[in-house]
């Protein structure tokens, strides 16, 4: 929860040199080339935060050329809920002139510019920020010994940051050892040399910039924190859910899930198949599910389009399946390494015919884990395909969260081959469909056929008008019934009032923080996160009724009629004109200030301080 007490503080105030100032959270942006290992530095910082019971969230861009190129990695870490990667940076680490030039604007007034004085010449007239020049490159070469490839300067920078923020050196060196432990000894040694050199660098004006991040004592009995990204959270969530089989084809940013599962599943006795294309992949996954082993397939947009026909078959044949879609910028090949939430309508309506299926959307990296468990439960219980709509931002960013209680959560994975009694029907009209996998003896002596043709209760094809109507109704009512198994949705913030902000997927964090800022400006505002896209949670109309305005914040186009995709759904269902959208399509996650500004403009509020952040790197120095 955003702590309301930590209200906005004046920016840019400087304190006396040398005294480390305590602060709640910090946003560090590392800007360099993708080859420089800036992601590794970010990863170390994130892991450290996790081990320190701090919150953390990262954000990164991927270079557009194949050979790599300019790229950033941004880390926000600290105490209190860290729910977005931070609008503007407190510290910018610039490796090159282009890094400095492109990202100077992202540094907030009063922030710290840490630059490689071997490569960067900052504007000498810029007094809005504290510029600290350190020769990353030459100092690293000196420390490690003439490595031509300049490897190690990322770790050198980590040392600098450790000094600057008084980070836990013992924990960091432990992390470095774990990370490079598998490789040859030289590598670990060089990394530690670089780290120590950075830590020890006597930068003149670094003295003015020493801070200490609050490191909360772990609550007694609290679970340790784990730090990971959304795609690995989905992968391990599925393993916890007893999913042991899968098939897919590579595509960015989905691939890392298939890579993880291909590596992990054999340990669990499972199989993951790389197929020739996405159609073969969903087909193989359906074959696994048919064999009694709930399976997973996944992709990103273009691959999902290819799976549409087979997905419709799964609806008709009532075969369970988990389908993960890591959304990216669309349409077509679009923006493969950017975020967009524009596959929602396709997830619901992408196949021909009335083919209702379940669609879920995780809100955070942690939720990527839990929603995978929920998806598997629903798929099994309702014998239906379930789509998990994640996105590029959730997939690639790192967050820390409480380690899941695995002994409680683990689901056993075993095909149910118990003999079926004589009354068994593959497609009963009045009871839920329960797939009988091969290997199961049929008491009736009649073996069942699953099919994509309309069928009677025994699976025989039929064009009987009444039966088609009944079976269509059955498939629809079954999906409706899924909503009865959801936990009731909860609103964060004001439980009634001026404005309800509705989010789905990765807009969760920025909306959550926006609530704090809006409340600070006197708006009575709540945040409802929709994790269950289809069917929707029951009782939403009662929640909507408590607010004067409803704004759905989503990263997709306003469409022909002015509404984003989830907004369109909600308007169709509730026919309430107060349901409106805040959308955008610039391929980036929402910044908190964007939401606050758009709300202000939208509702005609003029008193809101949109630029405020609830935490500041330049808080008053601590005694």
């Amino acid at each position: 929860m955003v702590s309301n007490s930590s209200s906005a503080t004046p920016e840019g105030s400087k304190s006396a040199a040398g005294a480390p100032r305590s602060l709640n959270d910090v946003v560090i942006r590392l800007a360099g080339n993708s080859q420089d290992g800036i992601q590794a530095v970010g990863g170390f910082l994130a892991r450290l935060a996790g081990r320190s019971a701090q919150e953390v969230m990262t954000y990164m861009t991927i270079p557009s050329t194949i050979s790599g190129g300019p790229s950033i990695f941004q880390v926000r870490m600290g105490t209190g809920d860290i729910l977005s990667a931070g609008d503007r940076a407190d510290v910018l680490v610039a490796f090159y002139q282009h890094s400095y030039e492109h990202h100077r604007a992202s540094l907030r007034p009063g922030g710290v510019l840490l630059y490689d004085s071997d490569h960067v010449q900052p504007n000498p007239d810029d007094h809005e920020v504290t510029a600290v020049g350190v020769p990353f490159t030459s100092a690293t070469v000196e420390a490690v010994g003439g490595s031509a490839k300049e490897k190690g300067k990322n770790i050198y920078v980590l040392g600098l940051l450790a000094r600057m923020f008084d980070l836990n050196v013992a924990k960091l060196t432990q992390l470095i050892k774990e990370r490079f432990g598998g490789k040859n000894e030289d590598i670990v040694r060089n990394a530690l040399l670089a780290f120590d050199a950075g830590y020890a660098y006597p930068a003149e004006n670094l003295q003015q910039c020493l801070y200490r991040l609050e490191e909360p004592a772990p609550a007694p009995g609290a679970r340790p924190q784990v730090t990971t990204d959304g795609n690995s959270a989905i992968s391990y969530g599925l393993i916890a859910a007893g999913v042991r089989y899968g098939a897919a084809y590579p595509i960015t940013p989905w691939s890392s899930i298939m890579e993880t599962l291909r590596t992990e599943l054999p340990k669990y006795g499972g199989i993951f198949v790389q197929c020739e294309d996405e159609i073969a992949a969903i087909s193989t996954a359906l074959g696994f599910s048919y064999s009694g082993n709930l399976a997973i397939t996944g992709s990103s947009g273009p691959g999902l389009s290819l799976k549409a026909e087979a997905l419709g078959w799964a609806v008709m044949a009532e075969i369970p399946l988990i389908v993960v879609n890591i959304q990216r910028g669309g349409p077509s090949t679009g923006l493969p390494t950017n975020i967009e939430q524009s596959d929602l309508m396709q997830a619901i309506y992408g196949s021909h015919g009335d083919a209702p299926r379940v669609v879920l959307a995780p809100a955070t990296v942690e939720d990527c884990f839990y929603i995978s468990l929920e998806a598997a439960r629903i798929a099994r219980e309702f014998s239906t395909p379930v789509i998990i709509l994640s996105d590029q931002a959730l997939a690639t960013r790192i967050e820390a969260f409480d380690e899941p209680d695995l002994p409680k959560l683990m689901v056993e994975a075993k095909p149910d081959r118990t003999p079926r009694d004589a009354a068994f029907k593959p497609y009963p009209l009045d009871t839920p469909t329960r797939h009988a996998p091969p290997g199961a003896i049929m008491g009736s002596g009649k073996y069942p056929i699953v099919t994509g043709l309309e069928h009677d209760e025994l699976g025989h094809p039929t064009a009987n008008p009444a039966l088609h109507a009944q079976m269509t109704a059955k498939r629809r009512e079954k999906i409706k019934a899924v909503a009865n198994t959801y936990a009731a949705p909860e609103v964060f913030g004001d439980q009634e009032g001026d404005l309800l902000l509705v989010g789905w997927g990765c807009t969760y964090g920025p909306i959550h923080e926006a609530v704090g800022r809006l409340q600070a400006s006197g708006v009575k505002v709540g945040h409802l996160q929709i994790r269950h896209i289809h069917p929707l949670d029951n009782g939403l109309e009662q929640i909507f009724a408590k607010y004067q305005h409803v704004r759905v914040v989503e990263i997709n186009d306003e469409g022909l009629y002015g509404h984003g995709q989830l907004t369109t759904l909600l308007r169709a269902r509730f026919c309430d004109p107060k349901i409106q959208s805040i959308t955008k399509t610039d391929g980036l996650t929402f910044r908190v200030s964007e939401i606050v500004e758009r709300v202000a403009k939208n509702l005609g509020l003029t008193t809101i301080k949109t630029g405020a952040r609830s935490h500041s790197v330049l808080a008053a120095p601590r005694a």
């Binding site: 996790g50 774990e178 784990v226 730090t227 990971t228 690995s232 391990y236 393993i239 007893g242 042991r244 089989y245 054999p266 340990k267 669990y268 006795g269 499972g270 199989i271 198949v273 197929c275 020739e276 294309d277 159609i279 073969a280 087909s283 193989t284 996954a285 359906l286 074959g287 696994f288 599910s289 048919y290 064999s291 009694g292 082993n293 399976a295 026909e309 078959w313 380690e403 899941p404 695995l406 002994p407 683990m410 075993k414 095909p415 081959r417 118990t418 996998p437 091969p438 290997g439 199961a440 003896i441 002596g445 009649k446 073996y447 069942p448 056929i449 699953v450 994509g452 025989h460 094809p461």
Partner: protein, 315 residues
Amino acid sequence: MSASATPAPAATAPRAPLTKKVLTADHPTWCPGCGDFAVLAAFYKVLEKLNYPQEKIVTFAGIGCSSRFPYFVNSHGGHYIHGRALPFAAGISLGGDDLHVFVFGGDGDGFSIGGNHLVHTARKNPRLTYVIMDNSVYGLTKKQTSPTSPLGFKSKTDPWGAFDQPINPMRTLINSGATFVARSHATQVNHMVEMMLRAAQHDGFSVVEILSECVEFFEGAFDSSVPRKGGTFQAIELKKNDGTPEDAARHDPTDELAAFQLALEPWPGKFGVYYENKQRPTKNALEQKLIAATREKNKHASDLELLQKTFARMR
């Protein structure tokens, strides 16, 4: 957790042998005289001979007249989408290592829309048997040109006679990488039974192409290989490795080049086993080997232990 680790529950009563009666399901919807009836009859015989536990037999298919097959066999089975039954069946086979998986389909289903899945299923070599009922036409959709329709064939999509070069099914199958490839004819029941039986017993991906006449839309297509219509049915004699001089002329199905040459023979060509490779491991075996190795390496830790270890590393 693989299905193979989950033996089917022991049947309570001793099993009666499989009979045609037990294996018969819905009455076929095919046109009277359709070649597919004979393929079905032969398949019943094959199953009678194999006498697998009934619940472990799986029949699957794509879409087409021939793909209606599973409705007519009383086994676990299904009717998937057009052209994609092979990757589905690979999933069944790998998900249930003890199952006996059969896929049925037509020339359009297999060589047109499904052509790529053939190649990629073949190179993976999962344990399953694929029977293609080739009538050289699209039956279900009522007479369009198929990839095996001969040049000049007059269909609704080629009213003046087809002129796109047809594929050569045997050549395509041999080059797909399938480890067992045979050819048969719906008018030759014993031959069909033998071919399907050998295919089912092959440890890997086996394919049998069966010429099966569509009496409705391509009557007489295969007369040149039907003796009672004046044609000749030439069966392939396989090498016996008995050192006799006759044996030199016989076909060695492990010789890929010889198989290829056989496939290039002019229409109607020969019938029998073209190619057989018993050396290539199945994907089923390779994946099980990998599982065994990784489980060994992880000291056969339980699923919970494994996952806990992973999360510990993320701290």
